[in-house]
Symmetry: C2
Subunit: 152 residues, 2 copies
DNA sequence: ATACCAATTGAAAATCGTTTTCAATTAGAA
DNA sequence: TTCTAATTGAAAACGATTTTCAATTGGTAT
């Protein structure tokens, strides 16, 4: 199944005058192989294990292309405004982030259609999409004593 | 009224072992005097007009303190993941951003309470807040020819 | 009013993530 | 195999933010 997905993506790349390279294959394997969202740096570290010679620049460039082709999504968290990257989600979803431990939970079933329609009607905007993110404290952190240990 | 607000804030600062300085006063005047959200740089430029000797570091430090004291809010946009700063909002609200021209419209009346309760029940999370942002194209940009001119 | 000291300031350097430049390499069509 | 546009990594450039540090200052206690 992994092979199938990659050859499919290879086709999409070729169709857009991009080439499938070993580096890009390595990046794709890391991204599709992880359930979590990964920063460019995190992806870099993981890819290096299989492909030590790869450059961080290549990660950035590859991610940009993949995002443009809608094969991966860009996200960003609240705290450090660093831009995060995530693998292609299984459909539309959002995130709930624990302020203490940083755990990320995927959220489905946001229905903002009514709101979007109202806004569109009132402002004339054509709304393409939205970013929704909840923050708070997870069960585990709540139990283990609320305050203190904010993750930097 | 301006004086009142500032002396009030001065009290809050003092209560937290912070001092009210001319620099901080200048920053506060800029922030409270603008309806828009401002980047640290934008605030810097404006403050400089009244207080040319101020350093950019002071802007950052002041904003961090004000945010910690909940006197201003942190926000961040979709595109460039730069962290934006906004003046204290007149209540809970969100943003709609035009991908073409960058215009930001304030949104009120998001009712995510039901969703938050459901999520809280299902996951055990204690939800503190949320970030919601719509993106699309504003009326003006739509009229002036859809595609192309994406802002850098 | 004066003294005092922790808090504050700005300049400069350091950091961090990201982008640009460029010459050498390579994927893949012909 | 040949050919060429696309890709690569190193290094430098970049822009935003943070840290360091010595000099200054706000505000409280005398
Ligand atoms: Mn997700
Ligand atoms: Mn606003
Ligand atoms: Zn947690
Ligand atoms: Zn617009």
């Amino acid at each position: 199944m992994k092979t199938d997905a990659l050859t499919g993506i290879a086709g999409i790349l070729r169709k857009n005058t991009y080439k499938m390279t070993p580096q890009r294959r390595a990046v794709l394997e890391v991204i599709t192989g992880s359930h979590d969202h990964l920063t460019p740096q995190a992806i870099y570290r993981r890819v290096q294990k299989k492909y030590p010679a790869i450059g961080l620049v290549t990660i950035y460039r590859t991610l940009e292309i993949l995002a443009d082709l809608n094969l991966v999504c860009r996200v960003h968290a609240e705290d450090n405004c660093r831009s995060y990257l995530m693998r292609r989600p299984n459909g539309h979803h959002h995130h709930m982030v624990c302020k203490s431990c940083g755990e990320v939970i995927d959220i489905t079933g946001c229905n903002l259609d009514e709101l979007e329609q109202r806004l569109s009607r009132e402002t004339g905007f054509k709304i393409d999409g939205h970013l929704l993110e909840f923050n708070g404290h997870c069960r585990a952190c709540l139990d283990r004593g609320e305050n203190d240990n904010e993750q930097r």
